[in-house]
């Protein structure tokens, strides 16, 4: 709606045609490009002010409309829904080249540094995409913008780019632009967005290198993605577009699992907050990640002594802010207080269930009565403090951990036992999920929560609780691979150790197919 000065658009259009001629000439070289850029700078188009914004906005509009109008003209054959029409990116490519040339030749003066101008161009581009998507709705075409970003990533973040300060800021400028284009804000850009944020010229650069300063940006992309998918995946019935989005997400997670497992390890808590409990395999991919320098002992090794594994007493690195949800509900200090002093006669523990519930209006949208991130945060915070107390307390950690209730931290067990006794079926399922989400590669969280789960199994006198514990473990094991190491060793312990008297539980024969399933399980473990 901004008023363009009379003739401004025509002027910019003429400049673009002139640039096109320079690109087309066979003898194009750096001299002609830099001369053209200098001319733009002298004419005041590159100050990074409103004139610049208008200049870049009009160039994007010209390039995109040229690109979109070429679609269909170039295609005769009817295409399948998933296949897109042929399209000409010619105008987009030369616009992208113009911006790359401007950033390359623009002399840093009046503060128009490369990074400053790039941020301005990206901000204009993001606004154009938002406006185009809002105006066109289902007719919006994301492909020109996808191509534009790919060109810029290639030119401005080439493979040999050494990621020092300035260059890294170029990457984060793109990361912030992509975050502003996330699916929840522009759903019609979702497929292009996921392709961009996981692109081989982009995502690996944020994850490679010892500094890990790019990790929070990739974590944010995955949270953006899972938050968009969550309402669709929660009910596990979806059409082709969501299926494709889901499959694409699996591919990205598999690349991360294979090439950057430590990233998935360190942020597992955040991702478990936003992945719906029904996406068992997707969550298993994240929970199966383990550090590349670690060798996992085969869980079915006879007489495997878990508590003698060197890694089992080491704390895993958790980069997520585990206690953020507790703090946002002003529960953190009460938890700390209770775990430290375990005051008698307090109603704190019995009131926990109530505080884990969502207000009715939010429950409808969240599809559950419970605040899942708050539940996850409570379970892991209590467990982490209990582990600290165990380690601080007494004899060699291994001995203490082999039988936590020998030195048990009453307060933590109090909380877990009260919750599992007070919560309803849904709440218990989410609570047990929060525990099972810590069963990963050998570390002291896996160790502690494995014993807590088994302890709750024996300690409980209600068969429904034993059945739910079994169900939470089993539904994670019957899904296609991968399966987290900690999950496997916990289930094997449950079904092999006579202390749990597993095979005499009536619920393993509650239906013919369940009986058959356990029959095959018992045969498979001999």
């Amino acid at each position: 709606s901004e008023q363009e000065p009379e003739g401004f658009r025509e002027q910019v259009s003429a400049l673009f045609v002139e640039w096109w001629r320079i690109c087309e000439l066979p003898g194009t070289n750096d001299v002609s490009c830099s001369r053209y850029v200098l001319q733009l700078q002298q004419n005041g188009f590159l100050k990074g002010d409103d004139v610049s914004d208008r200049f870049f906005r009009i160039l994007i509009e010209i390039s995109v409309s040229h690109c979109v109008s070429s679609e269909g003209i170039m295609s005769g054959s009817a295409l399948s829904t998933q296949q897109s029409q042929p399209i000409s990116f010619f105008a987009i490519d030369i616009y992208a080249k113009l911006v790359s040339s401007i950033l390359q030749y623009c002399v840093a003066e009046q503060g128009s540094s490369k990074l400053f101008l790039l941020s301005k161009v990206l901000a204009v581009t993001v606004r154009c995409i938002h406006k185009d998507a809002d105006d066109k709705k289902t007719l919006f075409n994301p492909r020109p913008y996808f191509r534009l970003f790919i060109n810029w990533l290639r030119d401005l973040c080439p493979p040999e780019l050494v990621l020092d300060g300035g260059n890294f800021q170029i990457l984060t400028a793109f990361a912030n632009a992509f975050h502003a284009l996330q699916p929840l804000k522009i759903p019609s850009f979702s497929f292009a967005w996921l392709d961009l944020v996981s692109h081989r010229t982009f995502m690996p650069k944020l994850l490679t290198g010892s500094s890990q300063k790019g990790w929070p940006y990739v974590q944010r992309f995955l949270v953006d993605l899972f938050q968009f998918l969550e309402p669709f995946l929660r009910n596990a019935e979806f059409g082709e577009p969501i299926q494709l989005m889901y499959k694409g997400t699996l591919r990205v997670l598999l690349v991360l699992l294979h090439d950057f497992p430590e990233f998935l390890c360190d942020y597992h808590f955040t991702f478990c907050d936003v992945i719906p409990p029904s996406c068992i395999q997707m969550r298993n991919i994240i929970l199966s990640a383990f550090p590349r320098n670690m060798r996992l002992p085969d869980p079915s090794t006879p007489n495997l002594k878990i508590d003698l594994l060197p890694e089992i007493s080491q704390s895993p690195r958790v980069l997520s802010e585990v206690d953020a949800a507790l703090k946002s509900k002003q529960m953190k200090s009460e938890i700390d207080e209770y775990l430290k002093a375990r005051p008698q006669g307090t109603s704190f523990v019995t009131e926990l269930k109530q505080r884990l519930l969502l207000p009715p209006n939010e429950a409808a949208r969240a599809g559950t009565k419970y605040n899942v991130p708050l539940m996850n945060s409570l379970v892991l915070c209590v467990g982490m403090q209990a582990i600290q107390q165990l380690q601080a307390k007494g004899p060699p950690h291994a001995q203490a951990m082999s039988n936590p209730w020998a030195y048990h931290v009453d307060a933590a067990l109090d909380i877990f036992q009260t919750l599992i006794g007070n919560l309803d079926t849904e709440g218990r399922y989410l609570f047990l999920n929060a525990i099972a989400n810590q069963l990963r590669y050998p570390n002291n969280h896996t160790h502690y929560f494995s014993f807590i789960l088994l302890h709750l199994f024996t300690d409980s006198d209600q068969e429904i609780i034993q059945e739910q514990i079994t169900r939470v473990l089993l539904e994670r094991l019957i899904s296609n691979r991968p399966h987290p190491w900690g999950l496997l060793i916990t289930f094997l312990e449950l079904i092999k150790n006579t202390r749990y008297n597993f095979w005499n539980r009536s619920f393993i024969r509650c239906a013919p197919e369940i009986e058959k399933l356990f029959g095959s399980v018992s045969r498979s473990i001999g």
Partner: protein
């Protein structure tokens, strides 16, 4: 903003967010306009910078077989020769041919150094090898300009005491 997320409603409560049905509608529309593989590929055509005029009887376009991986794998070092692989790598930039030549060179124990943009091959087992680098005597591929120009050309040189840092290994 980069910390953990709040409760699982934060995504739905932040500004500019649409309702579920709208999201589904937009996604279905986007499903027919997926980015295609070629949308993210650079134009693969190789444009010689200084094309030499050749008689019309000569092939004017590159033989398609040059883009066939089998050609490079089967004829490998016995028939094509290392210099030809280097020629394809350095003078057919941004083409599939360059990639295939690089793959063949790697198979023949050449390693590309991203800082020097040059191929190296161990002349003998490295004297030192750590997780970060290896050090020893290497052959490397180079181009030397002789005084009397016509003698310029490809050559391979020996480099003693060279440290190949792995973070420069492509």
């Amino acid at each position: 903003d980069l910390g953990t997320i709040g409760d699982n409603l934060s995504g739905l409560s932040s500004g500019g967010v649409h309702d579920h049905m709208f999201n589904l509608q937009m996604l279905e529309a986007a499903y027919t306009k997926l980015p295609q593989p070629k949308d993210s590929e650079r134009s693969r055509s190789y444009i010689p910078k200084h094309p030499a005029a050749t008689p019309a009887s000569y092939p004017q376009a590159q033989a398609p077989i040059l883009n066939n991986p089998a050609f490079w794998e089967r004829y490998g070092v016995d028939n094509i020769g290392t210099d030809t692989l280097f020629f394809a790598f350095y003078f057919q930039q941004n083409t599939y041919q360059q990639y295939l030549a690089a793959k063949e060179l790697k198979k023949q124990s050449w390693r590309y150094h991203r800082k020097y943009n040059t191929w190296f091959q161990r002349h003998e087992e490295p004297k030192v090898a750590t997780d970060e680098y290896e050090q020893g005597t290497y052959v490397y591929f180079d181009f030397h300009i002789a005084d009397d120009n016509p003698q310029s050309g490809w050559c391979q040189r020996i480099k003693h005491e060279f440290t190949f840092e792995y973070n420069y290994l492509e």
